[in-house]
Symmetry: D2
Subunit: 138 residues, 4 copies
């Protein structure tokens, strides 16, 4: 099951094409990942203070299917695909909540996979994820 | 040969990790594509008024290698990999200009491929790229 | 009474100083204004399609009191101060929901007044606000 | 004499109204301030490492006169109005470089004053600006 997070489209998200600027879906994906972590009891600011580490994105592969527009309501999902000591991979989607479809057939605005590494916050070098974090994620 | 465009890192580009937020490289890549088009005589605002069409990103595959930081100087490249009537694909890199390396060995912050479709600006549906644009691109 | 809208601070909102980048409070204020309008039955996309007009900010006066940080929870307010045929003025605050205070004594991150004009969406020239909109706002 | 810095309008800067989103002028103003400081030999990243202090905006008063659009070229200015041990005040303008006018009569997109305080980077509390910085600014 995927974690779900609602996102509303505001003026800040759109561009002169009248649609959501392509980089901004990465913001929505990041918000959903943050709330997914929070739902597991992981606050990133607190985590950094305790462990000295932060998550940093190392790879993305994104497909843009349908433009979203001002005032649209989206549901952004996050589902863990893989978790190791050095990095985790998530599958994420930005689904339309505005355009109604049959159950289980939501229209997809944008989707992709995001790989995230664990790094030392001071040096930004790859590090081994604390095992209690890895356990919670799994 | 790749088109090159300089980018300086400002406060707006960074996040609380002290590094460039991952979505912002897509802004830098877009700036470089816009300037590459402009260097070919293609202004997107004028193009839209004349042809009724705009470019819209349909797919990205990005790898993040080294974080960039406040005040860093980058060179962002754009090189056409493929061009068809419905879409074009570019290879883009964000290279370090701050950290010196032997010639031809620039450090790579971020790189990837970007596929861009041509759509009708009013309907946002895929359309056939005007042939004079396609010729200029090739 | 002021309209209230919750805002969570994400990585995208912060900068390398570890705090919310000053321009981003204007995004939060815009989100709260949009939701305030929506609470009055005014959707801006629909409004534009029906009337051909849009709201455009013409003046801001903002004070920044306390930096907000990653994971902070804010309440952003919007209160109409003045409404005329050409423009409206709102008072807005970004209050801390994270740091607890006695009732009625919320800590203020940022506050100010925002003047917004009504313009023709095609020409962007000042226009007279439709009277039914003005009535709803008052 | 005001310091001048060129800014080009890209897709990322615009919104669905077809114009530059109001918060983004604050980004342009920040870029121009950063380059003004750099022109005086002050790099903010280096400054922070040496002194432990950073500049943080404490107040803005901005008027928006004329919308800027995709592909527009702006000149953004920065002129020191006042400098004290705790804060400095600048006057900044975003002028049109695209629309030609008689010399000395540039069209103004946006202008205002920005007050910036000097704070300890760790505590974010107001601090006394190092005297050598204050001297350079004056």
């Amino acid at each position: 099951m995927a974690f779900e997070f609602p996102v509303r489209i505001y003026w800040e998200d759109t561009d002169a094409g009248g649609i959501v600027f392509y980089a901004n879906y990465l913001k929505f994906f990041e918000r959903a990942r943050t709330e997914w972590l929070r739902s597991l009891g992981i606050g990133q600011q607190a985590l950094r203070e305790r462990t000295g580490g932060i998550f940093v994105v190392s790879e993305t592969a994104i497909k843009y299917h349908r433009p979203a527009r001002l005032d649209d309501q989206l549901v952004v999902t996050a589902r863990l695909q893989e978790a190791g000591r050095a990095s985790i991979t998530l599958v994420q989607q930005a689904l339309s909540k505005t355009e109604r479809t049959p159950p289980g057939n939501a229209l997809v605005h944008c989707e992709g996979t995001i790989r995230i590494g664990w790094v030392d916050a001071a040096t930004l070098r790859p590090a081994r994820m604390p095992s209690h974090i890895l356990e919670v994620l799994k």
